[in-house]
Symmetry: C2
Subunit: 430 residues, 2 copies
Amino acid sequence: MDALERGALADVVVLPGTTREVAEIVRVCGETRTPIVPRGGGTGFTGGAVPVRGGVVLSLERMHRILEIDEASLVAVVQPNVITGDLQDAVERVGLFYPPDPSSLRRSAIGGNVAECAGGPRAFKYGVTRHYVLGTEAVLPTGEVIRTGGRVVKNVVGYDLTQLLVGSEGTLAILTEITLRLIPKPPHAATLRATFSTIRHAVDAAARIIKARVVPASLELIDRDSLEAVAGHVGIRLAPAETGALLLIEVDGLAEQVAAEADRVESACRAAGAEELLRATTEVERQDLWRVRREISPSLLRIASRKINHDIVVPKGRIPELFDLVAALKVRFKMPIPAFGHVGDGNIHVNFMVDGADPDAVRRAQEAEGELFRGVVALDGAISGEHGIGFTKAKYLNLGVSDDTVALMKRVKYAFDPHGILNPGKIFPD
Amino acid sequence: MDALERGALADVVVLPGTTREVAEIVRVCGETRTPIVPRGGGTGFTGGAVPVRGGVVLSLERMHRILEIDEASLVAVVQPNVITGDLQDAVERVGLFYPPDPSSLRRSAIGGNVAECAGGPRAFKYGVTRHYVLGTEAVLPTGEVIRTGGRVVKNVVGYDLTQLLVGSEGTLAILTEITLRLIPKPPHAATLRATFSTIRHAVDAAARIIKARVVPASLELIDRDSLEAVAGHVGIRLAPAETGALLLIEVDGLAEQVAAEADRVESACRAAGAEELLRATTEVERQDLWRVRREISPSLLRIASRKINHDIVVPKGRIPELFDLVAALKVRFKMPIPAFGHVGDGNIHVNFMVDGADPDAVRRAQEAEGELFRGVVALDGAISGEHGIGFTKAKYLNLGVSDDTVALMKRVKYAFDPHGILNPGKIFPD
């Protein structure tokens, strides 16, 4: 059972404390052809850590130490079960920064972040988890312990196995140590909040911000349905009643840069027809503006008992068409579909809200899911930008990936895991 | 023959104009088990495009078009033989930016940049080629045409074959189309030049710049031997005579940001004991400060007829130890070894200067090469940060990569190229 709220039972749970113990467990599983499923924080949305074929769940919870923060080389070395937010706190205490910020960061572990290539609001400026992973120690499904990459930011020695492991959803190797790139912590930040009458106006503002040569750390879009849900949940409106779309924009850097960028962001938003425009520079004010974003998840569960959260992604220029598609799905499938997300990346969280006890509603959500995914692929997008495929989206893999490409991915899987013991039932359709 | 100045003869050269023609050629080569070597600009330093096993050289020179610049989605789609500098010019005309800047950018093609994962001075702030490749169209050695990734910046649908192809040195697939991420062009830049008595002082300045929370676009270090070579070549000293190390620092962004960052860079350099400190903000002044860097390559060839250029990389904190190693090699092997490079990345170009006609000198350079590489690996570094392994460094692959990891890389190669026809003789030792 994990964040997905759909579970499966392991036959055995093991809690190794060292790489050597991991390797020994993997060897035994290899000899007996027993499925083995690595598990960290258990916060995945697509079931990556769920043992759908039974077998051994290999929990990494005892491997939770930050091994080193090297300030001279801007590198951290961690065990897989370090909680991402704890790592951020530790490096920020010495003036450094690990930018990837999935909303689960207070609960999810860095190993899972790497396995899924977690994103977050800061990805537009700072990139996703992939861009911070320099090296790994990994146990192969065949039992060998390998090191990939290293402690350097440029490395072109052989194939980049590190980047192949990132996002491989625990199907190629078990990560036992991860070397991460750090950057200097931006000393200042400002948050701006702008409301618009329509999604198109908000997307136009985002485009104007980029035209003004500003790269915000975050550029978050929240739609009307999400705002209504928040208003219902917290009891007061956090944005004007007639708001059709809300942008939350954060800029960061040196104080002078933050001031200059915030001015440009304001001008861009006004030029795009912003209705209400707020700017916050103190930490307290900033957290106040971010509140509407943080309240979305708890609020949505008041609309319906079950939230089916899709993290689709489209090219930025096609976001308005994506919202047209969502609007059509709402009408056709008769359900609320609040949507919000990272407009700078085109990565939008589309939430099908259904009564989990109503089989007809669940069936409609499943149909709508297929329609959404086909529409996203038609917009040159991808069915997952952050959560991965796991087992919940495996049947849709071939929507955007050709048979030849899936066959090649399977040959890559075979190169790592000839007996198919590592995290079976994930990514690939049966 | 290419930039390496060591050639081999192809049996046939083909110049396909379309992906379909590439696929047909590959199919014929597959049936006849003929080696096939993709070739773009021919500017590689490790012989990636040299047909060491003969066979077919597949030149991509006719596939040189920029197919699309999508300003709304910040994406460019190009054929492989677009010259990197031409792409930069084209996107900058619409206010966008493709940052990777290998010094060959006026001659090298984007396909080769992707195959080698080219870097450049701007990598510290902006990353290397890998960080800008979103998707590819590629012809597999087995003849299938696949698409990897897409037009979106976040994509976690299956294994990231795109990132596996980047840096694979043309051994896994032939790229026929590449989709690149663009960012807004920073409107302003300033260049600073600081001289120091020793390498350690210069590296200390770089560390202080980072402590001041500034991320320069470029942070270039030039050693005394390189400066002496430039002075000899251009006839005047471009830096004071007693300079032990020179830093070239470029900051970019909005005008306010550039001014604030340049101030902090100056303070950091002064605190580290800078002797001469210059700041340029106009394009003409900036180019003048960069002149010393640009003159290095032509100048070195005045010292000796042959330059053996190594692009090793060490963790930033270990750069002083690297220069200690270089100093020891100079004495031991009795040859000039000017060194310069990207101090922000720890990626330093170490140049063994020898008389190409003197077999004893060449032998000493080969011995020194082995010593350098072993020393770099002992410093937790890598033997190549930018140029790849090709055939010239293949025998050193296992210095920093274990046998188990090499074996895994070979299984990955097999997953793509079961008959071993694509660019044989590269990366892996015989």
